[in-house]
Amino acid sequence: MNEFSTLVQFFFSGLTSGSVYALIAVSLVIVYKVSLLICFAQGEFFVIGALTMVTLTSKGLPMPLAFACSVLISAAVGALVERFLIRPIRDASVGSLIVMTIAISLALRGLALLIWGKESKILPPFSAGKPIGVFGATLQPQVLWIIGITILVLLVIWLFFEKTTMGVAMRACAENRLGASLMGISTEKAAFLSWAWGSGIGALAGMAVAPLLFMQYSSGVMPMVKGFIAMSVGGLASIVGAVVAGYLLGVVEAYTIGLISSQFSDTIVFTLLIIVLIFKPSGLFGATRSREV
């Protein structure tokens, strides 16, 4: 492998993790915009989605059906969590809300431990096929699936929030809660739906990488933290910002691991996060705030 193909290889691994970070960041942003809450349990939906799909496929369910069921199950869990655990303390302080979502993440992780045990599980790839050679670097077919799923999810989000009445109503809640409720939009229903969307997308991220990553009940912590970083760098409330920042983070991380230091890549990434938070709290793409989904 020559210099150039090594660089291409790093780029591919950056795209792979970048897709995951982008999806998780988007799921966090949707929940945040509509219900003004950052959910520390988002990593748990990542794990629940992946492990549900592992179980369903091992029970003999065909891949597409298992895929759809896992997304729906995760979305339902997220929506129920909002309805029965978040709504009762809706007006509590930010500190209490953060701790509530942490409590939910502990409970869901504990539940995953009871259901799936401690051992790591991996999913078979979505399609058989040899790795593809590009400029001397190898590309796993699953990576194409991951990128394809990411693009599809973003397209569906765009269609939902731009073209459907329900989506427009949810955007109205994000824009102005009081105004939206005066127009007869139920902000409670919007928050409920935003959790369903958020947990569904978080689950999708987990399912898409499940063939490349060994998953266990506690695998959700790091992806969630990286999703936070992408979300903060993207400006907290911007879906476009979150996607760009997610891919940026993935690629920067891959090149840091490859070229600078694999041991200190996280140190560097987290230091960059603190610097961005301090000097550019509206995110790197803060200027595009007025024009967003």
Binding site: I89, I102, R109, L113, V225, D266, I274
Partner: protein
């Protein structure tokens, strides 16, 4: 009843002092459990100064726990330093880190602050893993000696138990004093309304940083005590999960009350002792307990206790 209410702390002190020779039976295991309880009380109370009083969220308190533990561990195990000096060095470094990052980080609010403190925790942990030649990396730091002062070594579990609990009393007592002092009242003022506090001419940033430094020093003390008790340090014990556990203790016991978080630490650290046969259920149970507390008793366990006390006193006064 009223008299009992006023002198409860004498009963508590007697219990702590007499526990090992009576109920504990001088056993290494039982005193070990209470040593951990004590260390976590220090952590929870120190975080309460920052979160409950100054109102600054931290999801990375274990960063200072880690600094204290590793400074003590490295200086005593590798360079043969005196444990007392190492402990002071750990507190100095923790305080310096808190002071250095405090002003810019504490200018952030709510979720941004939560994120930044979480990042700080991750930075410390990844540095510990990465700086293998110094810290032993992921495989851990071995052979941390027992705590000693010139002329006396706390190598016995019961001796160490008394040392840790003396520190607990010192930290809790001084925290209560701080909370009641003008400094503590200023923190509460900043917490309830920063703009109003500023209008009264309070330099909010400086007060917040001071609270952060104090809180970091106490957490570092807990780290040093942990290092000498364990004799072995691994980065896993200082991750974001540890920070989250401390946060859970705060809300479980009742944030902003000093005694509440201490109670939360006792509860959360003793619970596994009674449920060890259901180890796999521990995570789920902690989550559910915390959810129940947040939804049904926002003032925490301490709030319930004071509620009961008030009710009893109201009756006896009648």
């Amino acid at each position: 009843m009223r008299r009992l209410g006023r002198y409860w702390w004498i009963i508590l002190l007697l219990f702590i002092a007499l526990y090992p020779p009576t109920l504990g039976g001088m056993s290494a295991y039982k005193s070990g459990v209470l040593i951990f309880v004590g260390i976590y009380i220090i952590l929870a109370v120190s975080l309460d100064l920052l979160m409950g009083f100054a109102g600054q969220i931290s999801v990375g308190h274990a960063a200072f726990f880690a600094i204290g533990a590793y400074v003590s561990g490295i200086l005593t195990a590798k360079y043969g330093a005196s444990p007392v000096l190492a402990l002071i060095a750990g507190m100095a470094l923790s305080g310096a880190v808190a002071w250095g990052v405090g002003r810019p980080v504490l200018a952030l609010k709510e979720y941004y602050l939560a994120m930044a403190t979480l990042a700080l925790n991750e930075i410390i942990v990844t540095l510990i893993i990465g700086l293998q030649w110094l810290t032993g990396g992921a495989s851990g730091l071995r052979d941390v000696p027992a705590f000693s002062v010139p002329g006396f070594s706390f190598d016995n579990h019961v001796h160490y138990y008394y040392l840790v609990w003396a520190m607990v009393l010192l930290v809790v007592g001084s925290s209560v004093a701080v909370a009641r002092s003008p400094f503590g009242r200023t923190l509460i003022a900043i917490h309830s309304d920063e703009t109003a506090a500023k209008t009264f001419g309070i330099d909010c940033a400086r007060y917040k940083v001071r609270a952060y430094v104090l809180s970091a020093c106490y957490a570092s003390l807990a780290g040093s005590l942990f290092a000498h008790y364990m004799g072995f340090l691994a980065p896993d014990d200082f991750g974001v999960m540890t920070s989250i556990n401390i946060l859970v203790m705060l809300y479980l016991g009742g944030i902003g009350t000093i005694y509440g978080p201490a109670l939360g630490a006792v509860f959360l650290k003793l619970l596994p002792e009674f449920t060890y046969q259901f180890q796999d259920y521990e995570l789920l149970m902690n989550g559910i307990i915390l959810i129940v507390v947040l939804v049904f008793m926002p003032r925490g366990l301490f709030g319930i206790l004071t509620g009961i006390k008030e009710r009893v006193f109201a009756r006896s006064a009648r």
